[in-house]
Symmetry: C2
Subunit: 409 residues, 2 copies
């Protein structure tokens, strides 16, 4: 028997995921060796307060980056790639914001960079998108890719509690961070959607190409409406091809009953891929817990050691569309006076938008008017919304939420 | 520019899937060539009434087997492998029943056999199980892997119609075949679970190792009960590790609300993988339509051309367990007389089974008694069931259905 070949792994970051990965490598080294013939070993760990990157780089064959954030992660990853060492990262912001630079460096050096753990933890969505790449075209990706916001919306729906109360509870349970800004405003989901769009559509997409809205303005009223109609309210990422252009967006929306993402509750992640040959495929699982994320990192390490094909690098840049069509739910707090509906309907009609349903709830000063529109250019809808905001009988700013309806029945 | 390399594909079978594959190859040849550098071309087609296998084999570099059934598919696939030609097949019965022989032939010849399309059409479950293999251990696979039966159960649940009526409707709609035996008795699902268990647990498993029950005895009453309690009734395949042994079974069962497979409706397929590092991952999509199955075949062809690692071959054989523990729902049609419940409870208690809930529905000669038991050895439950069958006040044979409860809450 010949002595086992060894790959020395330099581990950057020793937080929750880093710690879980360190333990997992110890536990699964035999399995990786059985699969690849190469035994992984941690040769150095860079902590915030301890360790020197240069010497860790020199003493390793492969770098696992679990620091998070752009600096110094970007510098470390680029230096590793330029030194000819493959990199596995779980850093969604790094891949979404600096993707072009990283992939170019990897290609120049002829080494791999893999990032399965950057999107949806252990749910192998990068792998599934990549492997269908080109051969099985994808036209649309829809995803619940942020567990914190899905937990909050699920809790609001089941308890009727306010956003603020549920956020506080999510923080107590560890489902939301002390500073939840990037989760609740949609920025985290936007980074993940940029990564998926790049891969699925073979195009250079960065975080700056993704328009996003969060869930901070969602009220219990909106969820009550959803419940009455059997709809689910979700923070959805949607990346679509429109001929030779694409759109990538994140927004809260009502999903029709039967949408593959409608039943996804709590801190789960799920992604639906649609295309003419695959019809629709949905992959779901728990979001980014420590062990799940570490397992995705380990799968990437194993893929590099077994010599799997590298993740595809996009050379082209497709146009980004931002004027699309949608249906909207519109919630207005109004005084219940004669003529109110007529004035709202007039503004909407003058902007070329047709109304599908109207319901007035309550009476007197506490009334609210809920309208759902047919599909129309979003630009027209937002123009109408601005004009409605100026109407003198509104008790609060109008709230608008997209509605995703069944396309084929 | 050098001339493109070409792979000549011998296509066996030109039914629905074969026809879809033929068209798909024409449509996606450029994409496969872009991904692999090799252009796929159909060099020969074997139809029932036309073509000679030997000359097709001789004129091809790769065989796609879409005939179905054991004979002559087994002979053709073995001859192709022994001639050193890789094979892609969508034939679940062939892989489940002749797996050891096929994989041994492939290994001896040093060529690949791939079979993504044999389970769940375009849903890439083979791929996901294979890639986690060994590195990310799987402890349990649960699957809705037969679209016909899921369609029938969904329709029975939503309409209250009988099994026979819904089956007739499924046949009209093309969701069930003229002879639906293999679907409705669980044999089709059993073959797919054998394939998944082999791959996930790295063990030789054949169709003969899988115990299966179908849905032909399910009554509208059972679905009404499920609806009242918010449960879903599904035909489930379950493959589990129990230490160094495994079990592989197919049975109808009630799933608790929130089970990842509970919301899967209509002719869809879905598979949930569970393990200590991945937690749980669910993959779902439409079952085996022509284009979806053809796309899975094309993905396998592309994997071979791009040089992806072959599907792992199992060398070991783990023990198959068949005495497991379950909770059961028990439905008895009884005359509503004093002492009936006491006599049933006595039989159950004497077999060491404890009862979780009892509900009597209706009165007089039309009454029914619905019990749900706590988990107990299935052997004990079936012993009790046999004794209950002998009781003189039963209006019909007792019906028993497993109940899958939430393990962690």
């Amino acid at each position: 028997m010949s002595e086992a070949r060894v790959t020395r792994i330099g581990l950057l970051g020793r937080g929750t995921v880093g710690g879980a990965f360190h333990e997992l490598i110890a536990d699964r080294a035999d399995a990786v060796e059985a699969a690849s013939g190469i035994r992984p070993e941690i040769s150095g760990v860079l902590r915030r307060s301890e360790g020197d990157f240069e010497s860790i780089l020199e003493g390793s064959d492969l770098i696992v980056e679990l620091i998070g954030g752009i600096d110094p992660a970007r510098d470390y990853v680029l230096r590793a790639l330029r030194a000819g060492k493959p990199v596995v990262t779980a850093n969604k912001q790094l891949v979404a914001q600096c993707g072009d630079e990283l992939f170019e460096a990897a290609r120049s050096a002829g080494v791999q960079i893999r990032y399965e753990a950057a999107v949806a933890g252990a749910v192998p969505v990068i792998r599934v998108v990549q492997e269908g790449h080109g051969v099985l075209p994808i036209e649309r990706i829809s995803g619940i890719v942020n567990g914190t916001t899905n937990f909050i919306l699920s809790e609001m729906a089941s308890t009727g509690a306010s956003y603020a109360d549920v956020l506080a509870r999510a923080q107590e349970l560890g489902y939301a961070e002390a500073d939840p800004t990037d989760d609740v405003n949609g920025a985290d989901a936007a980074a993940k959607m940029a990564i998926l769009a790049r891969l699925a559509f073979d195009t250079r997409v960065g975080l700056e190409d993704v328009s996003f809205e969060g869930i901070t303005e969602i009220r219990p009223d909106d969820l009550a409406y959803a419940k009455d109609l059997g709809l689910s309210l979700k923070l959805l990422g949607v990346a679509e091809k429109h001929g030779g252009a694409i759109s990538v967006r994140v927004f809260p929306c009502f999903l029709y009953r039967g949408h593959p993402l409608a039943p996804v509750e709590g801190p789960f992640n799920a992604v639906t891929l649609e295309g003419p040959t695959i019809s629709e495929i949905t992959i779901s699982g728990p979001g980014a817990g420590g062990i799940e994320t570490a397992s995705a990192v380990l799968a990437d390490v194993s893929s590099i050691l077994t010599g799997e094909a590298p993740v595809h690098f996009a050379d082209r840049r497709l146009e980004i569309l931002d004027d699309l069509e949608s249906s909207f739910y519109l919630h207005l707090e109004v005084a219940d006076e004669p003529g109110v509906l007529a004035r709202v309907a007039d503004v909407i009609g003058r902007n070329g938008i047709s109304v599908k349903s109207v319901v007035q709830q309550g009476t007197g000063r506490e009334a609210s008017l809920v309208m759902v529109t047919h599909r129309a250019p979003e630009r027209s809808f937002y123009a109408a919304l601005e004009q409605i905001s100026d109407l003198d009988f509104l008790g609060a700013a109008p709230r608008a939420i997209r509605v995703i309806e069944k396309e084929y029945s």
